[in-house]
Amino acid sequence: MPEKKSSLGRIEVSLAAIASIAQQAVLSCYGVVGTSDKSLASGIVGALSKEHKRGIDVHIKDGQIFIDVYVIIEYGTRIVAVAQSVMNVVKFSVERALGVPVAEVNVHVEGLRVSSVD
């Protein structure tokens, strides 16, 4: 977990807390209609972790934050534009909250929601 040393002690932020920030950011993005708690890639083991249930995976590697986001996007929007927006918003929100740089935000579009009208 990212740590910040202050003169009084250490500040540790858990992966779950980071995932929370990211999730709020993702849900506020236009075009995202949900996060997916299913990830085809990681199978059963991944599905058991609580963060993953939210549709967000956070890893720390070499002191840098890597975030994977699993989303459902509204059909009829430009997916690339929505995904880019998600990347920007998540990176911005997490960096602003923690003051620690985010190395990667990977957006996995798990599905499209087709509204009844189309």
């Binding site: 849900l27 506020s28 993005c29 236009y30 075009g31 995202v32 209609v33 949900g34 509204e74 009829g76 929007t77 430009r78 534009a81 929505v82 927006s85 920007n88 918003v89 990176k91 911005f92 509204s115 009208v117």
Partner: protein, 554 residues
Amino acid sequence: MIIESNIPATYREARLIADGQVFKQLIKAALAWLQRHQVAINALNVYPVPDGDTGTNMVLTMQSAWAEIQDSPERNVGRIARQMAHGALMGARGNSGVILSQIWRGFARSLDEKEVYRAKDLAAACQEGVATAYRGVVKPVEGTILTVARAVADEAARVAGETEDLVYILERMVLAAREAVKMTPTLLPVLAQAGVVDAGGQGLAIILEGMLRYMHGEPVTQDLELTGAVDLVTTGLAPGEAGYGYDVQFLIAGQGLDVDAIRERIAAMGECPLVVGEPTLVKVHVHVLDPGIPISYGASLGSLREVVVEDMQAQYRDFIAGREGPAVVQPPPSPPREPGIVAVVMGDGLAHVFQSLGAGAIVYGGQTMNPSTQELLEAIESLPSRQVIVLPNNGNVILAAQQASALSSKRVAVVPSRSIPQGIAALLALNAQADLDMNVAVMSEAIKQVRTGEITTATRSVTINGVTVSSGELIGLCDDELKVSGASVEEVARKLLREMDASQKEIITLYYGEGVSDEEARALAELIAQEWPDQEVEVVAGGQPHYPYILSVE
């Protein structure tokens, strides 16, 4: 409930239907108007990222939408709307771009295969557009483009129940959009903190405004506006007060004039068009707000004869004064010019230039360009406008201008122009239909495009920037920095223009001051035009003291 409006209530025929080609022109106009304001909208962004540059994103989205239909002869409005929406989807950029594409998607879906749309169809399409947009987000945030879109759709639905006139409905939609944009800071605290309105919402309002300008026959493109303004400097005509405008008549003498085509164009410019004639001589008559527009158009077709321009408001006043009998409905009182402009200048010629461009009050800076805060404050208060923009036109004056604006009870903004040419560029960028913040943003951008040169005499010997100057020598400054020196005005002028990269710009303007005769100035202009044949060279009598020449390149 919107009561006041600055949209003139002039008589015109109602427009009841719109087909595919009309819709196509509306999109074209919306795009052009949006492009004009792209930079200003970008300036409203609150976050460094999330939406990035809203103005640019919305322009790119609309460009893609336009590209899809620009060559289409399709008259079926439902089909062309669908094509356009598809283009918007393909080119959507950023949050606002995606939302915009969703609005168009719903709008087009509602129109379906309709040949034309009427009032009720328009209202339904707007509602569907908004509904589609809201579906694309889990927690819609109020105080954004979504809010503005909803306000517009609600107003369209309300008004469509009262009238069939599409232009009137669009006018009300534009007013609703502007109101909703103004309200966004009350809904989203971060906007209030930054002191701006929502960028996406503003972009949507601009799109609707562009469409309305097309319906009113007003220009939306950059060059058209600039041409009109340059005419203003030489002929001294100012746009008429909103409400009545000018009665314009002229004859066009030429070859192969297409009377029908001319009639169509003139009809789009204003009211009561009358165009008659034959291929060699056409008589045109029309009532417009800006006489420059029909006159420039006529001049592009042939030579003009018997040009008559009359102020209809003056005509009406005379008519009222001479008439006896029952009271006649009073014309709407013309609103004070908003925002009012205070400009600081030196020299009568320059004062005249600024006044002809619309400056309401002039403060003379004197030899040293150093008016007091008190003088600036008096100028601000002297204007009838509630909102005022101050153009200091000199680095020294900016601080005093800011102090004056803080002291005034009116809403005052200072656009930090550092020179006369910057001030002029800023004034040309002013848009009477935009609000104060938008104008400040646009004007501030405009001053960045201008480079200012000044030629004067050195008052002491000094070496700066590698240039050595003795007292009494002629020097050239570029953007307030000493760059060149020389023995003659011609030498300094040419060196200075080279420093200013004049060959990369389009227009070189010479403002000649006290002690320089008209012939001398024109001779210098000739010399400059020879060395820079690709640039336009203009000469203006500035009458400024202290600086024989002020140059601007843009």
